[in-house]
């Protein structure tokens, strides 16, 4: 930490630092919290790609075929799978956040249980969705 004398010359001050993130043992509550952020950022990237896809579909240019081919391929499908999993996780954990906003579920046991529930629901819904998708001709 650097401060300044009234004369303007910088001086070093040793200030206490709170323990950094790496000190703490990962817990389900903290891991799910950062995952909510990470999935949010990932979903925003997905939103950009979705808008680009809409534009390509509207334009009907070769970009359109290129994007369609990409998302029918294994890498494209992999991204769609990750986006669907991120969407379900962010959706369910978002609902968990809304309950917290109403002042409900703050007890440690409740927060751990709801976190476990959110992860389970996200996995189940993602798998179910892709079973439904691959059940068609696509």
């Amino acid at each position: 930490m650097t401060g300044q004398h009234s004369a303007g010359t910088p001086v070093r001050r040793e200030r206490p630092l709170s323990p950094h993130l790496t000190i703490y043992k990962p817990q389900i509550t903290s891991v799910l919290s950062i995952t909510h952020r990470a999935t949010g950022v990932f979903l925003l990237i997905g939103a950009f790609v979705f808008s680009a896809w809409l534009l390509a579909m509207a334009a009907g240019t070769p970009i359109c075929d290129c994007m369609t081919d990409f998302f029918k391929g294994i890498i494209g499908k992999g991204f769609l799978f990750l986006w669907s999993a991120a969407l379900y996780y962010h959706l369910f954990n978002g609902i968990r956040h809304l309950f917290w906003d109403m002042g409900k579920g703050f007890e440690l046991k409740e927060a751990q249980y709801s976190g476990f529930l959110v992860v389970t629901l996200a996995i189940v819904f993602t798998v179910f969705t892709w079973v439904m998708v691959t059940g068609g001709s696509w």
Binding site: A47, F50, M57, L91, L98, M132
Partner: protein, 131 residues
């Protein structure tokens, strides 16, 4: 100095940002809106994959005014929510003032721009789908 202001006046005055709870309220409002919209989106996407997913099918699908309107609502809520979310991420992790400002501006413009572009594409497909 807080001495001359009532508690209510301080709350209404919205503090140094001038916005106070507006960010928080809009984040929740868009979040709640996105619950039914996301469910509808997933349902529609899965339903569309049952057939052959060609451009003509997509354009015809947007010819239905319900699909076009709800998708526009989805894009609006989604990019709004996304821009509020990424704003907090930038504010939390970028500590160099200039970089922070530039990233905040770029993220806002990008969300607004891509939202408008997506909505334009939907309207354009809706008109094509009607013909």
């Amino acid at each position: 100095m807080t001495g001359f202001r009532s508690h209510l006046g301080r709350a209404r005055g919205a503090g140094s940002s001038g916005g106070a709870t507006h960010h928080w309220v809009m984040q929740r409002l868009t979040a709640v809106s996105l619950i039914p919209l996301a469910v509808w989106f997933i349902y529609s996407a899965v339903a569309l994959t049952a057939g052959d997913l060609t451009r003509d099918v997509i354009v015809a699908w947007f010819g239905d005014p319900f699909n076009a309107i709800v998708m526009i609502l989805l894009l609006t809520a989604m990019f709004w929510h996304g821009s509020l979310g990424i704003q907090v991420v930038i504010e939390d992790y970028i500590h160099v003032k200039r970089q922070k400002l530039v990233l905040l501006i770029v993220s806002k413009l990008a969300c607004f721009g891509m939202g408008v572009a997506g909505i334009f594409a939907i309207i354009s497909m809706h008109i094509k789908g009607l013909m």
